[in-house]
């Protein structure tokens, strides 16, 4: 379970997250929607400690992420994240990209890591691209590789930071299909996304983010189907 309590986050004088509270239960899929610069991506980075917070607390399975003694490297093994820019390691093949962290972090042997990597790559439909360098792949394929790379660590949670925003429109579908597959398998997921239709379809709950605070949170039918706040209505009108 991820518990976010009254979190504040600033970059210098600019406060981008202004007191956010929300919980994500095991097995749940929660989507965060909202305009650009609303602070939703930043919140995601705070969950696995890639960004620090100024106030409040974030607990993952009871572990305080931003406490002094917390071993973030250890915690991050359990929280996979997929970025907007897929960040393929350009100098490694697809297979090596996925094997690297299991080898270094989980200390798996070469053959164990390879088995895990091959399994995850097949899972995302890249079983025929193992020996290829990421430079030769399309954006959609690279993003699916990034998903496999995160899954290879057997995470308990998966965070998606606008995973399809940087893709050409015709490549969005294949990545969404992979994400849908994960949701159906019961992975706990937090999606920051601009794909409202997709969010409505796969999410258990949707949160609308505006200017650093959550304006509405609830079932997709509630928040997207029947929004209450004028900001939400306004936003949905602009994107749908």
């Amino acid at each position: 379970m991820i518990e976010i309590q009254n979190v504040h986050k600033s970059f210098g004088d600019l406060e981008v997250v202004k007191g956010v509270t929300m919980n994500v239960n095991k097995g749940e899929v929660v989507s965060i929607i909202g305009g650009s610069g609303s602070g939703k991506s930043t919140l995601l980075m705070c969950i696995n400690g890639l960004e620090t917070i100024q106030r409040g607390s974030i607990r993952v399975d009871g572990i305080e992420v931003h406490a002094k003694g917390t071993n973030l490297d250890k915690l991050r093994r359990r929280i996979g994240i997929v970025f907007q820019q897929w960040n393929a390691f350009a100098h490694l093949t697809v297979l090596e990209n996925v094997m690297l962290a299991p080898r270094l972090v989980l200390k798996l042997s070469r053959s164990e890591a390879e088995a895990v990597a091959v399994k995850q790559l097949k899972h995302v439909g890249l079983g025929d691209k193992l020996k290829v360098y990421p430079g030769r792949l399309s954006g959609g394929q690279q993003q699916r590789m990034a998903i496999a790379r995160a899954l290879a660590m057997s995470p308990d949670y998966m965070l998606f930071d606008e995973a399809t925003s940087a893709l050409d429109p015709q490549l969005v579908g294949e990545v969404l299909d992979t994400m849908r597959l994960l949701a159906e398998e019961g992975m706990t997921m937090i999606l920051v996304t601009h794909e409202i239709k997709f969010a409505k379809e796969v999410s258990d709950r949707v949160a609308f983010f505006h200017k650093g605070v959550i304006h509405e949170i609830g079932s997709p039918d509630q928040v997207i189907g029947n929004p209450q706040k004028p900001e939400t209505v306004q936003f949905l009108k602009s994107v749908l």
């Binding site: 490297d73 250890k74 991050r76 093994r77 960040n87 350009a90 100098h91 270094l104 660590m153």
Partner: protein
């Protein structure tokens, strides 16, 4: 017009070619050694420059600045005579190696710093998000990509290092290509012939290094 009475004598140079080629080998491996150590130091200086510790950062900045803004020969002098002043006598070869290494490390650090800008910060983020330590992210994700970007400058620096080894003769080194050539001319006074041949050997060494590096670059960085 000119009073041209000089008779070139190439035969004895040819006879002494093996000695010069032995010297060329010493020249080559001294340069190579100075590069290997220089690269390791440069990577260390680079991470020191990026650290939050003021002392570490100052040492790195100072090193780079002195290495780039003073003559290599002065650096070698400083090590050769300077360390001697502390009672630590070091050989001409050690002074040469240390001097070139110092110089290489300074220039390479700057090259690496430029190259690092081409490796996006998000690569480190992605690596850290998978649970890698910052050391693992640096050595396994950032540096390999950095090396590709700076491979060409590294090759250039290696050629510079080759040419710089010739400075060893100034502090008395007598068995590298330059030193061996000088020793031979001191006996024979055929300065022009010997140094012309030495020049050709340096040129060939430089071009061979360049060619091998090109090939290695293709092989290593095929992605």
């Amino acid at each position: 017009m000119f009073d041209f009475k000089y008779r070139f004598q190439w035969r004895q140079v040819i006879n002494n070619l093996p000695a010069m080629l032995d010297g060329a080998w010493i020249t080559f491996y001294t340069a190579l050694l100075s590069m290997v150590i220089g690269i390791v130091i440069a990577l260390t200086l680079l991470s020191m420059r990026r650290s939050n510790n003021v002392a570490l950062r100052s040492v790195a900045i100072g090193w780079v600045s002195v290495a780039r803004n003073t003559p290599a020969l002065l650096q070698i002098y400083f090590l050769y005579f300077g360390l001697g002043a502390f009672g630590a006598t070091i050989s001409s070869w050690a002074a040469l190696l240390a001097g070139i290494t110092f110089n290489n490390a300074g220039y390479l650090t700057e090259n690496f710093r430029g190259g690092l800008r081409a490796v996006p910060e998000t690569q480190t983020r992605a690596a850290r998000s998978l649970g890698m330590t910052s050391f693992q992210a640096y050595t396994r994700v950032v540096i390999p990509q950095l090396l590709r970007i700076v491979f060409y400058p590294i090759t250039n620096q290696m050629i510079w290092a080759l040419l710089m080894t010739s400075l060893g003769v100034v502090v008395g080194l007598n068995n590298d290509l330059m030193g061996a050539t000088k020793a031979l001319t001191d006996l024979s006074y055929r300065t022009f012939e010997y140094f012309a041949v030495a020049a050709i050997i340096y040129y060939v060494l430089a071009k061979l290094t360049f060619g091998v590096a090109r090939l290695a670059g293709w092989k290593l960085f095929s992605y």
